[in-house]
């Protein structure tokens, strides 16, 4: 009889003592892969107020402003880590963010 194959992360003996992790270990994973909706920004409406940046519980927004070009005055969500909670869309005072169903 063959053993069922599983999608395990680590062998029993290889787990760290006490099931701990070093800081920054989520860099090794794309924690956004279970998102069902993604925030899409309408740059026309964005006033660069940074509400989305501060409210995002996962801290995935990045300020794209390069200090010169006004066209870069917006915040971009990192979809590798955005979990699709919709808080940014809820809090955006300009309704510039729309939660859109992920394509499967």
């Amino acid at each position: 009889m063959t053993k069922p194959t599983i999608d395990a992360l680590a062998k029993v003996g290889d787990l760290p003592l006490g099931f701990t992790a070093k800081p920054g270990s989520t860099m090794d994973f794309k924690t956004g892969d279970w998102r069902s909706v993604r925030p899409i920004l309408d740059r026309e409406k964005c006033i660069h107020c940074a509400f989305c940046y501060y409210y995002c519980p996962d801290g995935v927004y990045k300020d794209m402003y390069d200090g010169k070009d006004d066209a870069t005055k917006y915040f971009q969500a990192d979809y590798d880590y955005c979990k699709g909670c919709g808080i940014c869309a809820q809090e955006c005072p300009k309704k510039a963010i729309t939660m859109t169903l992920e394509e499967v």
Partner: protein
Amino acid sequence: MAKRIGMEVSLAVAEAVKLANTDVIAAYPITPQTHIVEHLSELVADGELDAAYIPVESEHSAMSSCIGSSAAGARTFTATSSQGLALMNEMIYIAPVLRVPIVLAIANRALSAPINIWNDHSDIMSVRDAGWVSVFAENGQEALDLTLISFRVAEDPEVSLPISMNIDGFTLSHFIEPILIPDQAEVDKYLPPFKPNLKLDIKDPISIGLLGAPECYTEARKATDNILWQSKNHVVKAFDEFNKVFGRQYHVVETYRHEDADTIMLMMGSIAETAMTAVDEMRDNGQKVGLVRIRLWRPFPEEELLASLSKAKHLAIIDRHAILGCSSGPVGLEVKSLLYNSNLKPNASNYIVGLGGRDVTRDDFKYIFEKASSGQVQTRCEFVGVYE
């Protein structure tokens, strides 16, 4: 030199915690455990024990604080009973997988309902699956000794697990017994300072208490199961080392006049003292009866138990907790399942005694002996002396 003095067993446990130079005590008072932490709070307030005493607002917080303080590298103690242990339940299950050494004294008391403050084993049995090392004391000396031994086992770098030290509420916790109080130098020799192999440290940060997705939850549980089984060797080692320093030898399974016994009565905790007297009286009548007592309940001492039961024809397994809707109490279940996988086939029946503080007398043991030695097997446990 050690001094023998008359002392309430709860206070002796507290004295052991003091002798162990415990760093953190986080506890909430609950009958019949209260005297342990009450005395500790006095020792801390009087400056006799240099420890942080955290008077938390609940047992859930007590165990949470203990997990945190142990993870920070502090020698950690708490105590509870019954409903307090039930309220701790969530954190009780967390501590073993996080591998934080904590010594928890439980003055065993019945769980409600009906509300009952007296002794049985329903509290500890409600957390028997959580992954803690678990020991049961029989008398006051053993309660003090096992408290010291518990620190040594829990903090053994190859164990690093929490441990519960069980004493029967009131019938043990509140009795005054002659107890040898070891002196500090002996204890220091036996119990080195706690050197955690896992430690929260801002200079080398780690994250503790993580999510375990389906891809690793099984492995994390199995890793804890492996280490709990392995801990038995370290318990035995801690018992042997204890004997070298203090001259008292403990075993994971204790026996009394069992060598040539046809009928064995098997139990845990302080009722074994009464049972030994009953065994002596029955022996005087020519009845071939002996006693086996489980001191180490988790990990379950399979080999030692089988060895102690190898010659028994009849076996009375005595429980102080009834699993409602189940054929046996917890000790009954485990011993019968152990026997099923062995070539020993004594006539085994399970007896429930002493629920909610009902006295367990010599006559009870004689009754159980008569029933068991008749060779008749009862498939369902018997509630001894139930009035119905």
